[in-house]
């Protein structure tokens, strides 16, 4: 038996969660009975029996008991590694675990996090959807993520490809409230790999949490479990795009069980990627047209869009490319921490006024949409030759009024 190491309870909680094949239910049962250190003691004494493998699993060789595993585990070193990686640990019964989680019918036994967990103190809205999203879904997820984050909402999502990632991208772009990523793998194991950079940015601006022990990859059953955690954290769940069945529908079911509001973004009835969301709307859920609808569901009845900002369909309807807001500026100021504030902050002067832009510059600025606009479209709309046009574009970019995405441009929220 390992001598007492003077480790904190969190270290034992981590060790318990890292036992091979321990289910969340089992972990919760253990922690409900004893504090982590005592539970670990019971494991070491062999009082907690490892469940028999299911008949489907083929077991190769001898299967060590949990007591064997626990006896061989070097808790001191493992714990030091977790501390040095900056990973936070909390567990069921510990004061550090957010109330929304500890009071949940299926609470997490142990929770790991990277980043700043105070993100959870803000009202949380989950934005979920399919990994195989369309450009429309992606654009909507980014817009909702951005607008909600600007209003001080913590955007919760799963860091997956498609809608999840787009929601995080939007929330990060706002520079408002930090987003929260809920991962199925260990918090130090970015998955999917393509989102490793996004993962880092979410950690830097907000936090990434997971039930999986650090260093462990995601197993398939972790993803539905992760979705229930997303639902449990949120005050409202927005489904942007979902196929008729899939992970987002599990999140919806988990939210419904908990009585959490679910909203859905309508999509074309011909699009398979919107089949699930349209079905939800048919069943009577609230449709989402913009962030204002989500705020209303939270009880914040401010008018939307904010008066200084055009609606998506306004603006002079010339050109071929749909929307072209002429006064696309947004409110800035300190991010509001409470959503239920009906007072709007005073808006600063629009930057375009402050800078006294030349006519050509104004012309270029008004030719750029809030969504991405191709350089060729701007050239055709303004009729400027390439040299002066480029010079203006780069100038506006330096001023932070627009930003470039390769061959496309879009208006920025104020820096």
């Amino acid at each position: 038996m390992t001598p007492a190491l003077g480790l904190p309870q969190e270290a034992y909680a981590w060790a318990l969660s890292d036992l091979p094949g321990i289910s969340p239910v089992r972990l919760v049962a253990l922690l409900r009975q004893d504090p982590p250190e005592a539970a670990w003691g019971r494991v070491l004494r062999g009082e907690v029996v490892r469940p028999a493998p299911s008949p489907q699993t083929r077991v190769m060789g001898a299967r060590p008991t949990w007591a064997d595993v626990a006896a061989r585990r070097d808790l001191g070193r493992g714990w030091a590694a977790i501390r040095s990686a900056g990973i936070g640990v909390t567990y069921l019964g510990c004061a550090g675990l957010a109330a929304t989680l500890s009071e949940d019918p299926e609470p997490p036994g142990v929770l790991f996090w990277l980043g700043d967990l105070t993100a959870l103190d803000r009202p949380c809205v989950a934005i979920v959807g399919t990994r195989h999203c369309t450009g429309y879904g992606r654009a909507v997820a980014i817009e909702l993520g951005r607008d909600l984050a600007e209003c001080g909402i913590c955007v919760v999502s799963g860091l997956a490809l498609g809608i999840d990632g787009a929601a995080h991208v939007g929330a990060l772009a706002a520079g408002g409230a930090g987003p929260l990523g809920v991962a199925a793998s260990g918090v130090d194991m970015p998955y999917p790999r393509r989102h490793a950079d996004l993962w880092r940015r979410v950690v830097a601006a907000g936090a990434v949490i997971s039930e999986t022990a650090p260093g462990r990859p995601a197993q398939a059953w972790r993803f539905p479990a992760r979705n229930r955690l997303i639902a449990a954290l949120a005050r409202a769940v927005v489904v942007v795009e979902s196929h008729a069945s899939g992970g987002s529908m599990l999140t919806v079911a988990a939210a419904a069980e908990r009585g959490i509001d679910v909203l859905a973004v309508p999509g074309p009835i011909t699009s398979a990627s919107s089949a699930g969301t349209n079905q939800l709307l048919h069943e009577g859920l609230t449709p989402v047209r913009h962030a204002g609808d989500v705020l209303a569901a939270l009880g914040d009845l401010r008018p939307w869009p904010p008066p200084s900002r055009p609606t998506r369909c306004s603006g002079p309807a010339s050109g071929s490319g749909g929307s072209r807001g002429s006064e696309a500026t947004r409110h800035s100021g300190p991010p509001m921490t409470g959503v239920v504030s009906t007072e709007r902050p005073a808006r600063p002067a629009r930057p375009a006024e402050g800078l006294r832009l030349e006519p050509a510059v104004r012309q270029v600025l008004s030719a750029i949409d809030r969504t991405s606009t191709a350089t060729s479209v701007i050239a055709d709309r303004t009729g400027l030759p390439i040299g002066p046009l480029s010079s203006v574009l780069l100038h506006l970019e330096t001023l932070g009024l627009i930003r470039s995405q390769g061959m496309w441009w879009e208006r920025c929220p104020e820096p």
Partner: protein, 508 residues
């Protein structure tokens, strides 16, 4: 009896002198061709025999050995039919050896005794050392280009024998009329597309490789097909080099036998790597990139080309030539072409408007991954081409259509810019050496600041910097601004070289 007839063969785009030796002797009748002939060369036996018999010329049942010297080199093609037949006629004493003094022969024989054209005559003529050369009538034009030989021709074997024996005069094919140059599509047909038109003009003026990204039907191919019309005609050296390649590749030559307009090659995306860069097992045939030498290689639907095929373009794009090596031979094909490519922004093609795209994110990611970074880096000009406004396509009666600039006007600006480039000692600005940029493309302080900011942000690499400066030089040349490059031209070059696949498209 031994007869020796000079001729030439083609390897890649180069001709090599060949001596055809024919030996006839008593013994078991037979006909052997030795000296590494390929299949088409070995078949000469059957063609020559039939041609002689149907021309009523003597064919002796003797033991015949044909040696193609130097015997270590692989011979290919049917061009050696004629020298073999002539050699046999000497051996059977239908011709006297002095009839062919100083004469080389190239040509394929038909079974009826007619003399047919073969590919690569220009290169082969170049290799021949004899003062007189007999070629098929259809190749007379290209054979005369070099002007070093006395070129003769005959339509049939009988006519040839008579002319060689002095029984009739050599006939010359009528010199082709100066045909009106083929009408190339006019740039005035393109409505709108300010950026696309500018990019095509800069590409033609500076020889900068161009990538156009846009939805289907936006007019990418339309713009590309108007690019050759903007280029100046080939100089005589360029024209000679291009004609050699076209002749070797078997591409029909213009009536005068010389390629004078820059070629435009547009291989389909099903093209194999060998068909693009050249090669092949039996014959080393120049590929599409060499056929586009001093012209334009247009790759439509760039992302549909297999990645491995596209990456074979990287070396020729840098060096202007490609070295193809096979077990039996290695050949260098010249390939100094202007690469123009078009592709959709995503598989469904509607990715320019975020809401119109039906593609999954992973599908878009895979699509953009099909163009390797190094290849993308070689495009100096990368622009979007969007569908034109309806108003521009269907001008209403009230407002007369604003006439766009025609090919003639733009070509004049291009020619002026190319003249400025040649004063700097290069064909076009894309070839300006990096070390001479400080001298030939100096920057104004404002332009310097723009570039410095870009470099500091890590949005421009050192190589990218050189490319941007060359494009900026072209922009200022087109605008007639001599001297240091100003801020607008640098900005223009930067905008014309935007990344079509940004790492994270924020809104789309």
């Amino acid at each position: 009896m031994l007869a020796i007839v000079p001729s030439a063969t083609l390897l890649g785009v180069d001709g090599w002198p060949i001596t055809v030796e024919i030996h006839t002797s008593t013994g078991l009748p037979g006909f052997a061709v030795v000296g590494l002939p390929d299949a088409s060369c070995r078949e000469a036996r059957d063609r020559v025999r039939a041609a002689l018999l149907s021309s009523g010329l003597p064919w002796e049942n003797r033991r015949v050995t044909v040696n193609l010297a130097p015997s270590g080199m692989r011979k290919s093609g049917a061009g050696l039919d004629l020298p073999i037949a002539v050699g046999l006629l000497v051996a059977s004493e239908a011709l006297r050896p002095r009839d062919l003094a100083g004469t080389a022969f190239i040509g394929e024989l038909g079974l009826d005794g007619s003399i047919r054209g073969v590919p690569g005559v220009l290169s082969m003529v170049e290799a021949v050392r004899e003062p007189i050369i007999v070629v098929p009538p259809s190749c007379f034009g290209e054979a005369s280009v070099l002007g070093r030989h006395e070129v003769r021709t005959a339509a049939t074997l009988n006519e040839l024998v008579d002319a060689l024996r002095g029984r009739r005069a050599w006939s010359y094919p009528p010199s082709p009329d100066d045909m009106a140059p083929e009408m190339e599509p006019d740039l005035a047909d393109v409505r709108g597309q300010a950026l696309g038109r500018a990019a095509v003009e800069v590409s033609a003026a500076g020889g900068h490789h161009l990538l156009m990204v846009g939805p289907p039907g936006a007019g990418k191919s339309m713009l590309a097909r108007r690019l050759p019309g903007l280029l100046p005609p080939l100089t005589s050296a360029e024209s000679f080099a291009t004609t050699r390649i076209h002749s070797a590749a078997g591409i029909p030559l213009p009536s005068r036998g010389v390629v004078q307009r820059p070629p435009f090659r547009a291989p389909h995306h099903g093209a194999s790597a060998v068909s693009l860069v050249g090669g092949g097992t039996a014959t080393m045939r120049p590929g599409e990139i060499s056929c586009a030498h001093f012209g334009i290689l247009f790759l439509d639907e760039l992302a549909e080309f297999p990645t491995a095929v596209l990456d074979t373009l990287r070396q020729p794009l840098e060096e202007g030539a490609i070295r193809v090596c096979r077990a039996r031979a290695s050949v260098t094909f010249p390939a100094r072409f202007l690469l123009v490519a078009a592709m959709n922004p995503c598989p469904c093609g509607e990715g320019m408007t975020p809401s119109g795209c039906r593609c999954g994110e992973s599908a878009r990611h895979r699509y953009s991954g099909r163009i390797s970074g190094p290849l993308l880096d070689r495009f100096d000009l990368r622009v979007t081409v969007d569908r034109p406004d309806i108003a521009q396509l269907l001008p209403s009666g009230r407002s007369a259509p604003a006439s766009e600039e025609s090919t003639e006007i733009v070509a004049a600006r291009v020619a002026a810019a190319r003249r400025l480039a040649s004063e700097r000692g290069v064909r076009c600005n894309a070839e300006l050496p990096a070390e001479a940029l400080d001298e030939l493309a100096p920057l104004t302080p404002a332009a310097r600041d723009v570039l410095e900011a870009r470099l500091r942000q890590g949005r421009l690499s050192a190589r990218g910097l050189h490319r941007v400066r060359r494009v900026a030089r072209t922009l200022s040349d087109l605008g007639g601004r001599i001297g240091p490059i100003g801020e607008e031209d640098i900005c223009g070059a930067l905008i014309l070289r935007s990344d079509p696949f940004p790492a994270q498209v924020i809104s789309g």
